[in-house]
Symmetry: C2
Subunit: 256 residues, 2 copies
């Protein structure tokens, strides 16, 4: 028996998210099917981040156990032959039998991308949230600064979430225009942290957009944190603007 | 009667190119349908660049004549309501009755994008050509430099093309990694010129990829130009990597 870790990139457009669903195709399902077919035994992957329906990833992580003799690092090549073109294994590697990325100290980075122009750009429509309002980036940065550090993010978490604590640490939050995007119209909110609550990055994005539009002042983000009430923060921004872009393991220094 | 010009962006993935086809949906067809529906009269647009099946654009141009009273600059808004989300009118404006972008002095810029990594990235698969070979960018630049200026590009033109002359002027050709692309893996060949032959940019891209792979030396591009024979140059790179990104009018200085 050995444990293999997969680094998985996907275009989430056509999927009902990562996690297995009774009604709807998911990334996890496609991986289980392709691995079971490839290795000739029933495989069940366990993912590191359960991304929502429509969310994209460059580097989600998953582990599975197998009796197969195929070397771990060869699995990526064979598996990509069996996966649809909107899911790709960027790397596969053998890890210790008790290793799981969810229980390691990691820093994850998400990018929320906003197409900020008068009209949406067709070739970016599946990967950005279209926002035609003029956005004040400086105010968005001021608002974002309140979120950096350890805080109770209860106001930035969907009510459905069942967790022991809503305290999380945001390591870094940047707001910038991607200068190499067409016309420089793509605004990026890049957030990294040790862990995120359900919908947390999308609620942060929805709130910062409200600040950028001038609907609420940057300082109100501090009151949102203090109030610990989802009603106080902004709307949950649409899933398609969100991408999981980086996974860093603190102890080993490995980056995916 | 007035003439209106449209600045049209599209994701070419689902279309059989710009030009009307007996079998297959095209951008031109979608524009004619939406305009005819909007303005209540039979409209036929005339495009500036007949992009191929699968090619994308941020700024193709088209003109049409109409008796409708709707101000030219309002047409973009109303038309976007009637178009599929992979076609968007970025701007509409009234132009002189005898104006056609095809007969003006213009400089067009195309980008050919290559995803240069071990595996394709799902969210870029429709907008880049996947190339897993290591590419020598310096050699690609050396090869590209031979193409800048006025030359007979007969070797860089598909044989089917029927044109009076195959002499064209390439104003500029750059080869660079887009540093803001995921992992910096996206290689861009940016070419601008006053006019392009059929498949010219895709043949240039296919040739520079061969040079980057080390299959042919940079200097051989000079022999290709001199030989005036399509057999001498590289393959036609796939359509999906190509995007029409900029249109500049030399006299007015207008840029779309």
């Amino acid at each position: 028996m050995k444990r293999v870790m997969l680094v998985v990139a996907y275009d989430g457009t056509q999927y009902c998210g990562w996690q297995l669903q009774p009604n709807g195709v998911t990334i996890e399902e496609k991986l289980n099917e392709a691995l079971t077919d490839l290795l000739g035994e029933e495989i069940r992957v366990s993912g590191a981040s359960r991304t929502d329906s429509g969310v994209h990833a460059y580097c989600n992580l998953a582990v599975f156990d197998t009796l197969a003799r195929m070397p771990g690092e060869k699995i990526s090549y064979a598996l990509n032959q069996r996966l649809p073109e909107d899911i790709r294994i960027r790397r596969s590697l053998e890890v210790p039998e008790n290793f799981h990325p969810r229980f390691e100290k990691t820093v994850k980075t998400y990018e929320y991308r906003i197409w900020n122009d008068e009209f949406p750009l067709p070739s970016r429509r599946l990967y950005t949230h279209f926002c035609y309002y003029k956005l004040d980036v400086e105010k968005m940065r001021q608002a974002g600064a309140y979120l950096v550090g350890e805080h109770d993010f209860k106001s930035f978490c969907s009510v459905a979430a069942q967790v022991e604590t809503t305290v999380r640490t945001v390591r870094d939050l940047e707001v910038f225009y991607d200068e190499s995007s067409p016309g420089g119209h793509e605004l990026v909110i890049r957030v990294s942290g040790e862990g995120f609550l359900y919908n947390m990055v999308r609620i942060i994005a929805g709130t910062l957009i409200e600040v950028g539009r001038g609907e609420i002042p940057p300082e109100s983000v501090k009151e949102m944190l203090d109030g610990c009430d989802r009603q106080l923060s902004g709307p949950t921004a649409p899933a398609k603007g969100l991408t999981l872009v980086k996974y860093e393991f603190e102890e080993s220094g490995e980056v995916y």
